[in-house]
């Protein structure tokens, strides 16, 4: 299968991007300044991410759609306000995670942002669950960019007036060059920022204007170090079908109201795990010293017993040290528990820590 290119491909080339294939797309891993500089620029100024490879699924419908989606997602969608967003997951009947996603209630129905590698399968699963009752569009005509970092609000507001008044995890329609753009105040870096859905033909112009105002394109490499410092999961690594939201320590994203009803796919397992506890759980892991423990690194307890595995690990440029997360047996998940990480045949000390590694406050209005 030929790899796809996003509508910003030419701009990436103009900015000297190094490309990698990711989920069937040619995506920029970094630009000339490199991952560390790009990471810091996002934390201190503003960075633009091309996330057009991600799925933008529009589902059209009203009250019936809300009821049907509540059978799928563990969310209180009925009481979700118009233009507000929630983080959630698509689960199987055993509560294994097919994908993690952001769902937003719009006037017309719902907009769901899906991972690139999962979007086609998600579409199939959702279409089947919804029994083809609703119009569903996995829109390939729209691009998606994220602008993240402390200067982003000012920069984006200069180009699209009014966005600075959006609250965190809410969105609205705006216009750019007479085109309707849907903007949410959200992101995946631990910074204040926005995600902008815009028709393919205008994304290049919008991005160039944002660059002219002082933002910069940032590659997937820095996106990964930013999200990991922020303690956020990457599907296919920290989340997959063998892990449940409770094991992934994401129970905050499950509506209590919906748990009490227990009528969504996977709810039996979720309720059982919430009541009885889980045998493994996702934790933050901070290696002592500079050693980097990457995905699949084995975790041992102080008695040299294998108790888990790293699912993401890298060097955190803002933390200025290695950061990781992984799954350990529940009894070793307490903060400050000392563990050992086996890297290149040697065991290196580390400790369980709370997430995120890097914290900055979002804008007010967290729903």
């Amino acid at each position: 299968m030929e790899t796809k290119k996003t509508s910003l491909y030419q701009l990436h080339q103009d900015c000297n991007a190094k490309f990698v294939e990711f989920a069937g797309y040619q995506m920029p891993i970094q630009y000339s300044e490199g991952i560390v500089e790009e990471h810091k620029f996002t934390r201190n100024h503003s960075g633009i991410f091309d996330v057009s490879h991600m799925g933008q699924l529009f589902i059209y419908g009203g009250e019936d759609l809300i009821k049907d989606l509540e059978k799928i997602f563990p969310l209180d969608l009925k009481n979700l306000k118009l233009n507000h967003s929630k983080y959630s997951f698509l689960m199987d009947k055993d509560a294994g995670i097919h994908d993690d996603l952001i769902i937003t209630k719009t006037k017309e129905g719902f907009l769901i942002i899906l991972n690139a590698a999962c979007k086609d399968n998600d579409f199939k699963i959702l279409k089947e669950f919804l029994e083809d009752k609703y119009k569903m569009v996995l829109d390939e005509n729209r691009s998606l960019i994220a602008i993240q970092g402390p200067k982003s609000s000012e920069i984006l507001n200069d180009v699209i007036n009014g966005v600075k008044d959006l609250n965190f995890m809410s969105g609205n329609w705006f216009t750019f060059e007479n085109q309707k753009v849907y903007i949410t105040r959200s992101g995946y870096t631990g910074e204040d920022g926005f995600e902008i859905s815009i028709v393919n033909d205008f994304v290049d112009q919008l991005t160039r204007e944002l660059i002219n105002k002082g933002s910069k394109l940032i590659g997937l490499g820095a996106r990964d170090t930013l999200r990991l410092e922020a303690g956020l999961c990457l599907y296919g690594h920290d989340l997959d079908k063998d892990k449940t939201p409770v094991e992934a320590n994401l129970k905050w994203a499950i509506s209590k109201e919906r748990i009490s009803k227990g009528d969504f796919i996977g709810s039996d397992i979720i309720i059982k795990q919430l009541n009885d506890g889980v045998s493994k759980i996702r934790v933050g892991i901070k290696p002592e010293g500079r050693i980097i423990a990457r995905e699949k690194t084995k975790i041992f307890n102080q008695s040299d017993v294998h108790i888990g595995e790293i699912t993401s690990g890298t060097f955190g440029p803002s933390v200025n040290g290695p950061v990781a997360m992984g799954y350990v047996e529940n009894e070793f998940s307490k903060k400050n528990t000392k563990v050992f990480l086996e890297v290149r045949g040697k065991k290196h000390p580390a400790s369980i820590c709370s997430l995120p590694f890097y914290k900055k406050s979002y804008v007010k209005g967290v729903n």
Binding site: I29, Q30, G34, I35, V36, E37, G221, D224, T225, R290, I291, I292, R294, T314, F315, P317, P322, R344
Partner: protein, 126 residues
């Protein structure tokens, strides 16, 4: 002091008497990206030609560092362990990795000169 020689694994080596200074090339650092971790061989240990003698890691991945010749490690550069970004800044001079008392000077003859290495680097990265 002899001319600097290069290996196919992108190390450079400079011989001064029977002590060789070894590091990784600028081309290698450009391929790796930002280096955020370096591990060096232990002083006093012996390393064999083409064997691993250290590790560098970028934010993305870990890569082995090989030694282009055999010998005993007589010195290591702690400065690059403490601040691995020095490797990106000055790879072919102050950010050397380790020094070897070499075992067999003829091993130097198997390595490339600068022109050949530059050509090799260009071809292999194309």
């Amino acid at each position: 002091m002899s001319e600097v020689k290069y290996s196919k694994e992108h190390e450079w080596i400079k011989l001064d008497g029977d002590v060789a200074t070894i590091g990784i090339t600028k081309h290698a650092t450009e391929m790796l990206g930002d280096i955020v971790f370096a591990e060096l061989p232990e002083k006093g240990s012996s390393v064999e030609k083409d064997g691993t003698a250290g590790v560098v890691e970028s934010t993305k991945a870990a890569s082995d560092v090989y030694t282009p010749v055999s010998g005993e490690v007589v010195d290591t550069n702690q400065a690059i362990v403490d601040d691995p970004s020095k490797i990106n800044q000055d790879p072919e001079d102050s950010a050397w990795f380790f020094k070897l008392k070499i075992k067999d000077p003829s091993e130097m003859d198997t390595l490339m000169n600068k022109d050949d290495y530059d050509k090799f680097a260009k071809e292999t990265s194309a």
